[in-house]
Symmetry: C2
């Protein structure tokens, strides 16, 4: 059995081919075009082409497909039923019909897919209670309860970016006042720096060079993140917090001040301190999670049981094409 996991992002579409032993057989990525052609949205044409190309690459027409996308997955796991971010045509699309598949094509929220991948092959393996935050344009998240992805009543669980940290600030894209997403995400860096920096990456670079203005903004962002993590710890009591997303490449420039702020704001009963680690699967986690979910359940269980993390991240397929993100 071979699966293709697709991560349909707003700026880029990534696809990965996995075999049942957890080997990466191929990867490919391409920009998400926003235009709409006669035969439907152009991203749909792109996804179809990617899957066909990968089928030919691995000389196998019977690959199973799994999808990760922004938005809330429907209860039956066959479509995205709600997207706060606009991507025309995604809402309600039944993906099994796209690939003329007789088998269901599982559809997951992208942060849910990323945590699923980390739980099987990455930083969250062999853990029961885990919270993941993805720090990028926005702030996403996902929750593992008793070792299983927790999707909630309507597939919304884990939207940790949409928690209020400044109730006196304006509302974000889903209506949450002063949300973690608006206080930390890339999409507000320009506004928060009066146009001086466009992303957290630029902000961090300036901070590392000793720019005092950048340092003030960055330190305030990181303190907000610490308040969010401390709050989620009091609510969900995880054993592990996994941080993913591009900004984690800042390394100690992120983790050192974060740990210092957490020292102030984290409740540590009897000295108990929650472990915080970076994600291991990088920007490919969503695609990997989608591909994993496309396997039959017995193969999913087998992959999880075998604890393949080291083999996986050191495999040629991962090391050569995935890791450089």
């Amino acid at each position: 059995v071979i699966t293709v996991g697709i991560d349909l992002g707003c700026s880029e579409i990534k696809a990965i081919v996995l075999d049942r032993t957890g080997q990466v057989l191929a990867t490919t990525r391409t920009p998400t075009s926003g235009s709409t052609a006669d035969d439907g949205p152009s991203w749909l044409t792109t996804v179809r082409r990617l899957v066909n190309d990968l089928r030919q690459t691995v000389s196998n027409k019977n690959v199973l497909v799994g999808i990760a996308a922004p938005g809330l997955a429907a209860k039956d796991g066959l479509s995205i039923f709600n997207m706060p971010v606009r991507m025309e045509g995604v809402e309600g699309l039944i993906w099994s019909s796209v690939f003329e598949s007789l088998l269901p094509v599982p559809v997951l929220n992208d942060a849910h897919a990323a945590l699923l991948a980390e739980a099987v092959l990455g930083a969250a393996r062999e853990k029961k209670h885990v919270v993941m935050l993805t720090l990028g344009t926005g702030v996403g998240g996902a929750i593992l309860i008793d070792g299983e992805l927790y999707q909630g009543a309507i597939g919304r669980a884990g939207h940790i970016g949409h928690m209020t940290l400044r109730s006196d600030f304006s509302r974000d894209i889903v209506g949450t006042p002063g949300s973690l997403e608006d206080l930390f995400g890339d999409h507000t860096v320009s506004a928060r720096s009066h146009g001086r920096f466009a992303t957290n990456q630029e902000l961090v670079r300036a901070h590392e060079k000793g720019d005092g203005h950048a340092t003030r903004i960055w330190m305030d962002s990181v303190r907000q993140l610490a308040c969010g993590i401390a709050s989620i710890t009091n609510i969900l009591d995880p054993e592990l917090i996994v941080l993913g997303g591009g900004i984690t490449k800042a390394g100690t420039t992120l983790f050192d001040p974060l740990k210092s702020f957490l020292h102030d704001v984290e409740w540590r009963p009897n000295g108990h301190e929650v472990e915080i680690v970076p994600a291991l699967l990088g920007t490919w986690a969503g695609a990997i999670g989608a591909g994993y979910r496309a396997f039959p359940v017995d193969i999913q269980a087998e992959l999880k049981r075998r604890n393949l993390c080291a083999a996986f991240v050191n495999s040629p397929g991962f090391a050569m094409s995935v890791e450089p993100g």
Copy 2:
């Protein structure tokens, strides 16, 4: 089989006797004394006396006992291992030794016990994903996942009062900046009203009489609560939110503005609105949950299955002695 559920509060100790059909056979309550006698803390003497009295009342020496108390229950469920609020001698006390019981005496966090009771006999019955907030001196909480109480990695789960809503405000008892507990709980009403009101009850009474100062403070409190509920909804995606604690007696004075603020700040994908209801078991919920937990698991399952809520809240034992709380 008969059980005694004890809710060991900082100001009051409540005890309730339940039989295996969910009938309330007896209740009793007494102030928690803070002093320490030669034979241990006086609350311990009081609890021992309460249990002995109740054993005699029901002419049964072989009652099983369950405990609800503030603080974090240990993983083995036999003691409270951490208490942010001081109650000398509770931390680490193995309750089975107190009652010289050969059987384990289950110990639960008090808000966890309250939600457990609401899940079996009250407002959360037959629901899978539920969040409960208890609004009193502080703000407590508990979480039901897939119909089961979720205690987390170290028993801390559900401490929703300790989520940041104003990261620019000072830290609360466990170190959380600008927490829901500090923004809503009774314990800060005096400070928030410059000494004019001591509790939310007084505040609400003045607001209802048209006191503009009281109205401003109350409306701001309720808006903070709405931000907290909207945040927890985005994180946990419950199907139901249950509000308990004394201040819910304010009825529409609480629920009407709360629903109005939620209309602004709650993310409602495709119009989906989370149901919010008051708790049904009042201030006795903690004791009921502790008594329920003391039953053998097969009787717990039977009680849950039978959906006794209406019979329970209308029973003479509940109506006469419990409900007036």
